[in-house]
Assembly symmetry: C2
Homo-oligomer: 377 residues x 2
């Protein structure tokens, strides 16, 4: 079985590692260079999308910001999964919010802004404080504003107007500010036959808008809410593959914040912590194989490695620490890899996170240090 | 870090999969074709050994039957690990038996045969029944004879003489027949600093001389014996990397049968069952990184897939079954892949093996069926 992945980053790389034992070969289409590369070695193995589509059994994607013409060609081949609708919803905040409404899942009140008049109507409809997000191209905290006071409206509008003008079909989505106590996410898979398997929820810590720490949690009540919403969204899209839903947890009630139509950073813990990892389950789904068990096998946290290309020896030595480098060149803030930390039970995992804080740099790994500080209080 | 592996089979492939997350890149030298290939894709990435040696940081091997001239060139580079002595011991039964004696570990009485006169002396020295093994090139039950009765000596000698004549420096090693109750093996790693980490023992079932089923076992007394002998052999060789020792278990007393100076088929269960798999630990050792924990995390069995290139859907569906294909073309009896089966405790694993027997073909997976038959008795 040969799967072509749109995008040649770490998610395609980890799909390749998970696919090999199932004899599923992965090639990756680098949308920027228009080359087909091996996602592990990054060596060029072909040119042009058409040829790559021709030789693939299945086509999927590792990211949602895919030019719509490329998406159309892939969809035409009849081999593309999960579906271009899902990718579009993940890549356009307007479509995403519409989808959440259509699927009947709780999400923050919103209003789409194309003009200054819309902005005024949004303030009326949504209220202040308000979060404003660019409809296209925003991720990891980019393209976001917060309106806390009406007096900020003019200066924020100036920036938003520039953003709208810079990209054709761009818009801003105004959303009510949700006073959430934490962010959690649910990663799961839906198979061709409609069966759904979800992993345990992960509790996520973001630092400057970027995920830094993700821990699998056991909460029967939240899990049930999340699974119900996951199933509603996945069914609405007739989704096939791994899908991630990010939630605001507002005192035990979940609101969907956003969806990611792909394997997700907050699901990397499944490589060590779940019976089947998210990369294998995505491939199983799109290749028409039965889904693998998503059950938790160990208490696990995932720590993102941002902008660093070495780790202290103590991390390699520590029992239960699993390092996953992405083979990338170092750049400030870049996702270079992650560490999965496992314990036999939750308390052991917490203890290991505290021990890790002793050896990991405070500036590079703020979430681990924050965890350790809160834990010792 | 770039590691060159001599041999381009499934062991190099699984090293590649285990090395990628540590940013350790593997290339494989195919001794037959003299090509350097990527062990995952098998695509040719270079020619000639010298160039490959030049660009590698470390050189290691996935098999022990390596021509001595190739070994010498690798050794000269100063990059080869574990050591050519270890490889030679693994590839020559005479050297191996000498090593076991030198290390002071229990092994079966033996006698080296180069001539018919030697054969007669061997019968006197070792006694009947006796097992006879070619010193070079024997594996998976090939190049072996059993002398149960003096009247068989002439016909067996005819075959052995042919074997001796066929290969320069060939000989036969006569060994006392050990009335063992089972075969177990110990896989472990020794680091550059001399530290040793061993996995739990595995109990192995061979069918027609080929490993078919391997299960991690917990037996404190045997584990202690095995670790002591492992350490003696590894220290004697100043070994660096993963080493496997196969033992006869004679009513609770272990005798070393043979050693494999490499990652070993009976250690494949560590991919799911141990904190760090044998492939990662071999790479950690030869790259000078600290060894990873070898602790058992789940009750695990490994089932070899021989000569089959498909499996029933039920295996893919079964919770705790992990399939590892080697991307090879189907040939009768060929090692095509393996299945790791995990349970949260030993009884669950046993139950799963019995369930597997219901879906796996009896002729292709005799050991699983035998297990299930014994279990239900």
């Amino acid at each position: 079985m040969h799967v072509l992945v749109l995008g040649a980053g770490q998610l395609a790389r980890m799909m390749s590692l998970a696919g090999a034992p199932l004899n599923i070969e992965i090639s990756a289409y680098d949308v920027g260079s228009k080359s087909v590369v091996h996602p592990l070695t990054q060596s060029v193995i072909g040119h042009g999308l058409e040829n790559a589509i021709e030789t693939a059994d299945v086509i999927t994607a590792e990211f949602e910001h895919i030019p719509h013409d490329i998406l159309a060609v892939c969809e035409q081949s009849g081999k593309f999964l999960p579906s271009s609708d899902a990718i579009k919803a993940g890549g356009d905040r307007r479509i995403e919010k519409g989808l959440l409404d259509d699927a009947g899942v709780r999400n923050a009140t919103y209003y789409v802004i194309n003009s200054r008049e819309d902005f005024d109507r949004a303030i009326e409809h949504v209220g202040i404080p308000m979060v404003l997000k660019s409809a296209l191209g925003g991720y990891d905290g980019k393209g976001q504003w917060r309106l806390k006071d009406p007096t900020q409206a003019d200066s924020i509008w100036a920036e938003m107007a520039e953003c709208i003008a810079a990209t054709e079909t761009q818009a801003i989505v105004a959303e009510e500010f949700v006073p959430f106590s934490r962010e959690v996410s649910l990663v799961g898979a839906r198979a061709k036959d409609g069966s759904v398997a979800v992993y345990p929820l992960a509790e996520n810590v973001h630092t400057n808008g970027v995920l830094t720490l993700s821990t699998a949690i056991a909460d029967t009540e939240l899990q049930q809410q999340a699974k119900q919403m996951f199933t509603a969204v996945a069914n609405k899209l007739n989704y096939v593959g791994v899908l991630a839903l990010e939630f605001f947890d507002v005192d035990g009630t979940l609101l969907v914040n956003e969806i990611a139509p792909r394997v997700h950073n907050s699901g990397h813990w499944t490589q060590q912590g779940a019976e089947t990892c998210q990369f294998e389950n995505h491939l199983r789904a799109v290749c028409g194989l039965p889904l693998g068990s998503t059950k938790l096998i160990r208490s696990t946290s995932m720590i993102n490695i941002l902008g660093e290309d070495t780790l202290p020896q103590a991390v390699l030595e520590m029992d239960g620490c699993h390092i996953h480098w992405y083979g990338k060149e170092k750049r400030a803030g870049r996702k270079m890899g992650h560490i999965n930390v496992c314990g036999d039970y939750s308390g052991e995992l917490q203890r290991k996170l505290c021990t890790l804080a002793d050896s990991l740099d405070k500036d590079a790994f703020p979430a681990v240090h924050e965890f350790a500080a809160n834990f010792s209080e």
